[in-house]
Amino acid sequence: MMTYKLSLSRALFISYVVLVLLFLIVPVLIVIPMSFSDSRFLSFPPTGYSIRWYDAFFNNPAWMSAARTSLTVALATMLIATPVGVAAAYAIHCSSHWSMRYLKIVLLLPLIVPIIIVAAGVFFIYAFAGMLHTIPGLVMADVMLALPYVVTAVTAGLHGFDQTQEMVARSLGMNRFRSFMLVTMPQIKPSIVTGAIFAFIQALDETMVALFIAGGQNQTLTVRMFTALRDEIDPTIAAISTLLTAASFALVMLMTMVRQRPYA
């Protein structure tokens, strides 16, 4: 009797967990069949399949220009945020100065301050500096938002690294920069790659700040998607969503592969 009751509660528990998992995964997956639908209507399951919504995306100059802007911004963000973040993480890790604790919190601020307030603030500064609707403006805002992720990932990597190795290299006459590049960096590479990918995805996904500061020639993909979702929904969004999901999935796979070969 006792075991029966136990296994019943176990079965209830497992089915609850499965339900929650379905709640998490179904909305992510349902977008994929929708994107291959052959009709305008969002009926599920689709009445027939086609690739017309991918055509609609790739043959629409406005969507393509937005995609180009987003990719350019994401790539530039990654290229700037990674070295800046690595330098900051290195300083946080090596320095024993009392102020570092506070500077570290400053670098976490972009995560703490609600994003709408960040967006309003950046909008104001850019309006003042004439940087609204520009690529460098978008890049700098995304770099700021990506910094906490890069710094966190790289600091974690440095924690697992034996700092004396770098000192040995320096005592043998290498200068600091060379010893970092040749001794330390190869060993914390997985965490740097993780940080870089985080920066890229965050810039690609960023919507809130871009809603305020993107525009004119430089509309991002997410801003166009947001407007399309608010005004009129058609399966083109499903096609873009599928592509975006596939892209981040591929990047996560890449990250896992790098993680599994720690000294690659």
């Binding site: 909305p27 992510v28 349902i30 700021m144 979702l229 608010r230």
Partner: protein, 300 residues
């Protein structure tokens, strides 16, 4: 004899000077390495925040508390903040009720199941918020899958309005914030020693008793981290309520954006921002007395 002692003394002094100089140079170098990152955050976040705070005290050219008075006396503002807190509270509660069992399952089930659970938790984490909002619009619309299923089993005869209202906002927000609940919970549960649970069981406690008196209390710091993170993130949510709320579910963040984009009323927008920011900072401050900030943000 004496001269060597003196030389030694001088050498010691020199080396102390040298090490002091070295330390100073070391600090200098670290500050230089730190400066680009700090400069970016300073220019794009701290300066505008300071400006927002100053701006919130200005009406026209004069200093006044008018914007704050309006927030605390006018119904529109009050209702918005009440709604924001109510939605955040409900979302946090739901995320906890769904997230705790998930994290628990990932902790106690065999490893391969744990990997499946964590993969499913993390995958939505990596998909754009817009993608997920779109998916929920499809699922919850009047002729959507959920409504058809509900009518199919006869739970309702006419389609329910599940979206373009507060309910739709809550469902999609829970979906987006659930990983932020599960991950800190899982990190904490992982560290609970299994020996303690076995000790409890060997002393004759039933599994439920062990859970209630051993496992659950030890997981509380993770609960605090997850609950804080979800609540605070929800307070500042914008995109999901804007898309799922159908224009009627106005949260604090939307008040900020409307004041700027529709009315160009920077004073009002600033005051709402400052109140919202204060709420977030106070919550973070209070909780950081109990557990470290890095743990709440999942950066450690």
């Amino acid at each position: 004899m004496k001269s060597t002692a003196l030389a030694e003394h001088n050498a010691l002094g020199n080396s102390r000077d040298a090490s002091l100089r070295y330390r100073r140079r070391e600090h200098m170098l670290m500050f230089i390495l730190m400066s680009p990152a700090v400069l970016i955050v300073f220019l794009l976040l701290i300066v505008p925040l300071a400006w927002l705070i100053i701006q919130s005290f200005y009406v026209g050219d004069g200093v006044s508390l008018e914007h704050y008075r309006r927030i605390f006396t006018e119904r529109v503002y009050w209702n918005t903040f009440l709604l924001t807190f109510r939605i955040s509270f409900v979302v946090t509660l739901l995320a906890f009720l769904m997230g705790y069992p998930l994290a628990y399952a990932a902790t106690v089930l065999p490893k391969r199941w744990a990997i499946v659970i964590l993969a499913i938790v993390i995958l939505p984490f990596w998909t754009s918020v817009l993608v997920r909002a779109y998916a929920w619009l499809i699922l919850l619309q009047r002729s959507g899958v959920v409504n058809e299923a509900l009518m199919g089993v006869g739970l309702t005869s006419a389609p329910l309005s599940l979206v373009h209202n507060e309910l739709g906002t809550i469902i999609a927000t829970v979906h987006i914030l659930l990983p932020f609940m599960v991950l800190p919970l899982y990190a904490t549960m992982q560290k609970i020693p299994r020996d303690l649970l076995m000790a409890g069981a060997s002393l004759g406690a039933s599994p439920l008793h062990v859970f209630r008196w051993v496992f659950f209390p030890l997981s509380l710091s993770g609960v605090l981290a997850g609950v804080t993170l979800v609540f605070v993130l929800c307070l500042g949510f914008y995109i999901t309520p804007e898309l799922m709320g159908g224009g009627r579910t106005v949260m604090a963040s939307m008040l900020v954006s409307r004041n700027i984009q529709l009315y160009s009323d920077w004073g009002a927008a600033s005051a709402v921002s400052v109140v919202l920011l204060m709420c977030v900072l106070v919550i973070f401050y209070v909780v950081s007395r109990l557990i470290s900030l890095e743990r709440i943000l999942g950066t450690k």
